[in-house]
Symmetry: C2
Subunit: 114 residues, 2 copies
Amino acid sequence: MNDRDLDDALIALADSTRRAILHRLSQGEARVTDVAAPFAISLNSVSKHIRMLERAGLVQRRRAGRDHFLALDPRPLEEAAAWIEAQRGEWTVRLDALDDLLRSRNQKKRRRRR
Amino acid sequence: MNDRDLDDALIALADSTRRAILHRLSQGEARVTDVAAPFAISLNSVSKHIRMLERAGLVQRRRAGRDHFLALDPRPLEEAAAWIEAQRGEWTVRLDALDDLLRSRNQKKRRRRR
């Protein structure tokens, strides 16, 4: 995933309506109208959110006659998770190193006091 | 973390310069000028990115005389990771259920063929 794709995925995730749509689709494929039904906003507004999710690659659309079915594509979620995990890993390593340093200093201090 | 805070964290993460700043800070606390140095953009532009990271709670600023030190605050990263993980978990459960269904159908087919 390049930087631009990661930007698009994170921006697409940065909205509670879009997160609710993805949550709905995590339960299974659904018609556009069924996805839109629980929201207090217009079908047109929901459609705009869905198109943003499609552009970010988080949602795939399947046409069956008149019906449009939406499905979650978790690959951009995986990529976003991988980036966050990588950060988390480095941060934890740094904290552990700091922890070790402080512990060894304290041990030296204690030895000097004896 | 409420929805608005999660929105802010994800929008703050949705930019490669801001991700690079966080990556730099994952190595340890740093002066604003040192954080800005590797970037080909103006100090003013980097400062805007830093302020956005501060507003999202991803960066903390410590003043020591004239020096401004920046440190990564990983808490919003943890929250964003938790949301993505929750989605991933549900999606995996759904995929596993689908997998079981297909497997049991195939087994029935095979039994019929015998």
